[in-house]
């Protein structure tokens, strides 16, 4: 896949240097980047999340995440102790459930506000969902360095986002997006996303560390993958309300 992409790229550049081709090229890069990130069929990940506020205070949370395809995800919090067992289930069509062990209750959560932050992190619900940059943005190639492509992404007409544009750094060798800058409606830098420690697990490229920094709030969320299992063939039964409750 990597080779194919590069071949296409080369061909395109050779063929013509027009703006059209540039845009086209940028969109291809973006599609590839989405594809790389969404490549695994399913994943079971143990995560450690560190929230740092502007005073340097840290909060640590541990969780386990099960994901199948683009749209089925179950997250269970393992720590802190008094939030142990709190679990989220996301299903297609924006259906979400939460389980609160203290009350042994499952409740459906509807959230129309995609740009609200997820559980105190710097990731919005939108950021947490599967990488679909190509589908929702128009891309242009700003620059090409030795090893990176730098893209500018602007939401497509009709696509509402809380940011006005994104700047994305994509690795040339494997198309993994290593950095994304979010700009607010005033075009000032608002959030910064970085993927680090990108390594190959089997046939997939996985970043075992990701950090989102809210520059305005001076708050950051770092997620470190402690354990990852890919393509285990997770059953659909995991992503049910009944299983959601089984948090013991």
């Amino acid at each position: 896949m990597k080779k194919k992409a590069i071949t296409i790229t080369m061909l395109l550049i050779l063929a013509c240097g027009s703006v059209y081709a540039q845009t086209h090229l940028a969109e291809d890069i973006l599609k590839n980047a989405d594809a790389v990130v969404n490549a695994p069929q399913d994943q079971e990940i143990s995560l450690k999340m560190t929230l740092t506020d502007k005073g340097g205070n840290e909060k640590i949370r541990e969780m386990k995440m099960y994901q199948k395809g683009d749209e089925m995800r179950l997250v269970r919090f393992l720590s802190p102790a008094d939030q142990k067992g709190v679990s989220f289930l996301s299903l297609p069509d924006d259906i979400q459930y939460i389980y609160l062990p203290a009350f042994n209750k499952v409740r459906r959560i509807a959230s129309h506000i995609k740009n609200d932050n997820f559980a105190g992190t710097d990731f919005s619900y939108d950021d947490m969902s599967a990488s679909k940059y190509a589908e929702e943005h128009d891309a242009t190639l700003l620059e090409k360095t030795d090893i990176l492509y730098i893209l500018e992404l602007i939401p497509k007409p009709g696509v509402e986002k809380s940011y006005s544009k994104l700047k994305m750094w994509v690795r040339q060798d494997n198309f993994y997006p290593v950095k994304v800058e979010f700009y607010d409606k005033n075009s000032t830098l608002w959030k910064l996303f970085e993927s680090r420690n990108i390594k190959k697990h089997g046939e997939y490229w996985i970043a075992s560390e990701a950090e989102m920094t809210d520059i305005k709030k001076q708050h950051s969320t770092k997620m470190i993958t402690e354990k990852i299992e890919l393509d285990k063939g997770l059953s659909d039964k995991i992503f049910t309300k009944r299983n959601l409750k089984r948090a013991k």
């Binding site: 939030q83 709190v86 609160l100 459906r108 959560i109 509807a110 049910t240 409750k245």
Partner: protein, 981 residues
């Protein structure tokens, strides 16, 4: 003094040059003179209340709330909502603004059929435009206490955008920027700007325009007075130049020291003009007198300096002391005003005896008008002659009147009201006052009451205490919409579990907390470590007395009713203390119900009956199992395809339910294990053989379903029993019912929080850890209270200090204790008269009127000194008392009246200003001048005559002589009469 006069004349050129240089330099400083309208700057920054207030501001995103209200028929229309959204978005983008709350940007947690919806009240990206949807939003918004009366008025005609300014933001600059930004948005809504930042802007503008407006008027008045008195250019120019120069110096120096012009000192230029002009006038007057006597120019100047120099110096010194007395004040602005006005007065003195004569020496001597002498016997003189007669005849009466005024004054001191709220500074029809009045009547006020909470905010014990305090706050009149993290937890609990209260366990709180995490509202309510929080409410009154009453009540409630050292115990371990603990719980729940009832306008007909019912329910031993409701819930559970135990056959369902109910009735301390073995007996193996954990999870769910039903049954039956105790039907008010259920829900608690200090016997040797909680009240009302207290002490101490100092000074000058005492009495009378007027006309003490007393001492003392000096001098000339008094009144007395009149006119110009306290200050001090002059011309001589005070001269013997004279006179008249006969 003569030597000094020679020096002045010798160095007249350098004096003029230096004076001009200093004046130009100071004039340049004036451009940097800033205006401060920050009420916090009234107080020293190390004042503990200021420190706490700033601390809270630092921690919770700023103390300053700026409120922009939009008024229209119904704010729930697309145009208004869009305008609110535009304003909200634009304000949010300002870096100096930490948070913005409005209809289009506020957290909303909505209860739904099978869950909840966390989001925004109105989606700012998708503001509805159809009527039906808008109507729905309107009804929903107005039904929620979180919004109603906070971001929208009860009637839906006013919406508010609330912006919290960063602690370090320049409120004036940001406020102006905000105002401009808001005014540039399109729409027909009427705009209001309320809150401290806008009050400050208004105050600054008003101070600015007042100074600009009033100064020319005062100058003009001064010119007219001078022109009438002297009828010469010199007579106008010299005193005028003197005061202008010294005023520039005084203000320039202030600016040089970085001191800002405040509500207290904005009258300073006018004060300096009014006071300082007297010195120049005396100089010019004496000079003209000497010239008239035939002195040559230089000789006249020398005489003037050496003869008038000392009295002017004394007058300047005593006046300065009057102002310096403000140094004992704790209020920074008053202290600063005192220092710089005192310095300004001394500048006026210095310029009058250096620059003025130096300049005078370069002017040609005036031509002496022949007709000058003939104007001696004017109507004033006749009046003075008559006055002197009246004084001699009615001296006892005058003294009695004087002392009665003093008595009334002393009585009124204790009855003068106080006003420190900034809003009160503005006229009733001013834009800012209208905005604040609207906020008060429609949205509960703009001034926040804040209570800083230090304690673990994820601890139910702590949150429950906060809820208790908030319920109390709500029950107080003029306290509106308390808000804290505890409300959000209650709100979430209501959404999750239908009970508007704090969950019993820490896990419960932490679970609910999950929804709130990351929400913008949190940093305004808690710190990031969750160990400090803020309770914020709105004060619905700008009345200082009411506000002080409220802050006092809150402080008392905190110290008497809030546990600061909390012990958690399990009810089963309470043993011998159970009775007492239950009694406490009853009182606690009953109080909460009482606060809620008060807030929602319900009356509890019989509080004892309420407590009795509560007690009965708390001590009930055997729990009733509500079989029918449990059955319904369990059937639902078994029918739910997502449940652990999906049973389709209703026969089997019935069997399961019956066996479970039997089990629960038999076993008070049921366990999940017990349920599992129970289920295993009935549910066929085929249900769970491929899912071995199934029954465990089913047991978990069943326990929580049944326990929940038991709890609800208890609460419902209790509510049913207490319902008749309320004056109105509780169903009428869903908010009250919601709170009532929350209050009553506590009967289910098994973890009880008690005061460790009150139950020492339980926690012997402190083996159980306790939870500490510390509540401190802060916020603007506390700052106002602090200022208020300081105003009273400023008044008391500065006045006593001024009177004391002046007394000492006078006693030294007259070398007589009695002399000092008598001389100070007219001033005491003046000050007390002022208090009596304030009491009668209900004029409050505020940052400006507080200064009247000391200013009256400073200026009034001049009259006494002048009078005493002249009277002493006249008596010394061996005149009769009548003659001495008459001459004194005709010369010095006239001068005093002219001076009092011109100073009075100067102060009356303050009436043209826009700041209410300065207006009050203006007319009160003008009145004070009249009273002071009158007292020194009537009360003082009467006192002197009655006491025969020796310091003034040989009055006693003179009186004796006079008596003999009178006797002789009478004898003569009698004889004459006899002769005629």
């Amino acid at each position: 003094m003569r030597k000094f006069a020679e020096l002045v004349l010798k160095y007249r050129v350098p004096i003029i040059i230096v004076t001009i240089i200093i004046t130009v330099f100071m004039a340049f400083q004036l451009r940097k003179l800033e205006i401060s309208s920050d009420i916090l700057e009234y107080l020293p920054q190390e004042d503990p209340n200021v420190v706490l207030f700033n601390e809270v501001g630092d921690k919770f995103g700023g103390n300053s709330l700026a409120m922009i209200a939009l008024e229209t028929d119904d704010v729930f229309n697309p145009n208004t909502l869009n305008r609110i959204n535009t304003i909200t978005q634009q304000l949010k983008e300002m870096p100096e603004i930490s948070y913005v709350t409005s209809l289009t940007d506020v957290i909303d947690i909505k209860k739904m059929e099978d869950g909840l919806e966390v989001g925004k009240l109105v989606d700012e990206r998708n503001i509805p435009s159809n009527k039906e949807e808008l109507g729905k939003i309107k009804n929903y918004t107005l039904s929620k206490e979180m919004y109603r009366g906070n971001i929208v008025s009860d009637d839906g005609t006013i919406a508010v955008v609330i912006a919290r300014l960063n602690e370090d933001a320049d409120r004036l600059v940001v406020g102006r920027e905000m105002k401009e930004l808001v005014q540039s948005t399109e729409g027909n809504e009427k705009l209001y700007f309320a809150g401290i930042p806008f009050q400050m802007i208004y105050l600054t503008d008003v101070i600015n325009s007042d100074v600009a407006k009033l100064l020319p008027v005062v100058l003009l008045l001064l010119i007219i007075t001078l022109a009438i008195s002297f009828r010469s250019k010199r007579g106008v120019i010299l005193p005028l130049a003197t005061v202008i120069i010294s005023t520039i110096w005084g203000l320039g120096l202030m600016s040089l020291f970085g001191i800002k012009l405040t509500i207290a000192s904005d009258g300073m230029p006018i004060l300096l003009l009014a006071i300082g002009s007297a010195y120049g006038i005396h100089m010019v007057n004496k000079y003209l007198e000497d010239i008239r006597k035939g002195d040559n120019k230089i000789e006249a100047i020398k005489n003037t300096i050496s003869e008038v120099g000392v009295p002017i110096f004394l007058a300047g010194l005593t006046t300065s002391i009057g102002f310096l007395a403000f140094l004992v004040s704790n209020l920074t602005i008053i202290k600063e005003f005192g220092i710089f006005t005192a310095i300004g007065v001394m500048f006026a003195f210095i310029v009058s005896i250096t620059f003025l004569p130096a300049l005078l020496s370069f002017m040609p001597p005036p031509k002496i008008r022949k007709n000058q002498k003939s104007t001696q016997y004017t109507s004033t003189n006749r009046f003075m002659k008559r006055l002197s007669g009246v004084i001699i005849k009615r001296k006892v009466g005058i003294v009695l009147v004087g002392f009665s005024i003093c008595a009334i004054g002393i009585f009124s001191i204790f009855n003068i009201s106080r006003e420190v709220n900034m809003v009160d500074y503005f006229k009733k029809d001013s834009e800012i006052r209208q905005a604040e009045d609207m906020m008060e009547s429609k949205l509960g006020g703009s001034i926040p009451i804040q209570i800083l909470v230090k304690g673990d905010l994820q601890e139910p014990a702590v949150l429950k205490e906060i809820v208790k305090l908030e319920k109390y706050l709500k029950s107080l009149p003029d306290v509106n919409s308390p808000q804290s993290i505890a409300d959000l937890i209650c709100e979430m609990n209501d959404v999750m579990n239908d009970s508007y209260c704090i969950p019993e366990t820490r896990e419960g709180v932490a679970n609910l907390w999950f929804f709130l995490e990351g929400n913008e509202i949190l940093p305004q309510l808690i710190n990031s470590q969750n160990n400090e929080g803020l309770i914020q409410a709105k004060l619905g009154t700008v009345n200082t007395k009411k506000a002080n009453l409220i802050t006092g009540q809150i402080d008392r409630f905190i110290s008497e009713n809030i546990n600061s050292d909390i012990l958690t115990i399990d009810l089963t371990e309470a043993n011998s203390n159970l009775k007492e603990i239950n009694q406490k719980r009853v009182v606690n729940i009953s109080n909460m119900i009482f606060y809620d009832a008060t807030h929602y306008g319900f009356e509890i007909k019989d509080r004892d009956a309420l407590e009795e019912i509560l007690h009965e329910h708390l001590t009930q031993d055997d729990q009733e199992i509500p079989t029918s409701s449990i059955t319904i819930k369990l059937v639902d559970y078994m029918n739910d395809e997502d449940s652990d135990l999906l049973i389709e056959s209703s026969a089997l369902q019935n069997k399961v339910i019956n066996s479970l109910l039997k089990y629960f009735e038999k076993n008070q301390d049921h366990s999940e294990k017990g349920i599992v073995s129970n289920l295993k007996k009935i549910v066929p193996n085929s249900y769970y053989e491929d899912d071995p954990e199934m029954l465990d999870y089913a047991a978990m769910s069943i326990v929580s379903i049944i326990e929940n039903e038991i709890k609800w049954n208890k609460v419902n039956s209790l509510i049913k029993e207490i319902t008749p105790l309320f004056s109105k039907d509780i169903q009428q008010n869903p908010d009250f019912k919601k709170n009532l259920i929350g209050d009553v829900w506590e009967i289910n608690d098994t973890q009880i929080f008690i005061s460790n200090t009150k139950f020492k016997n339980i926690n012997k040797d402190d083996q159980n850890p306790t939870i500490s909680l510390d509540l401190q009240q802060t916020g603007m009302p506390i700052i106002y209270k602090d200022i208020d207290n300081n105003i009273v002490s400023s008044q008391t101490y500065s006045l006593l200090f001024a009177i004391g100092l002046v007394f000492i000074l006078l006693a030294i000058q007259f070398k007589s204790f009695i002399g000092g005492l008598i001389s100070i009495l007219p001033i005491v009378l003046t000050v007390l008269f002022n208090f009596a007027i304030m009491w009668i006309f209900k004029i409050p003490l505020d940052a400006a009127t507080v200064m009247i007393g000391s200013v009256a001492v400073g200026i009034g003392i001049d009259y006494t000194i002048h009078f005493n000096n002249r009277f002493h001098f006249e008596i010394g000339k061996k005149n009769s008392v009548e003659n001495a008094l008459e001459t004194t009144l005709q010369t010095t007395g006239k001068g005093i009246i002219i001076n009092a009149f011109s100073v009075m006119l100067g102060f009356l110009t303050l009436l043209l200003g826009s700041i209410v306290p300065m207006q009050r200050f203006g007319w009160l001090i003008a009145l004070t001048m009249v009273v002071s002059a009158t007292a020194s011309l009537t009360f003082l001589p009467s006192l002197l005559l009655i006491t025969h005070a020796s310091f003034i001269g040989d009055l006693k013997h003179m009186a004796l002589r006079r008596a003999i004279n009178i006797k002789a006179n009478i004898k003569q008249k009698v004889n004459n009469f006899k002769d005629k006969k």
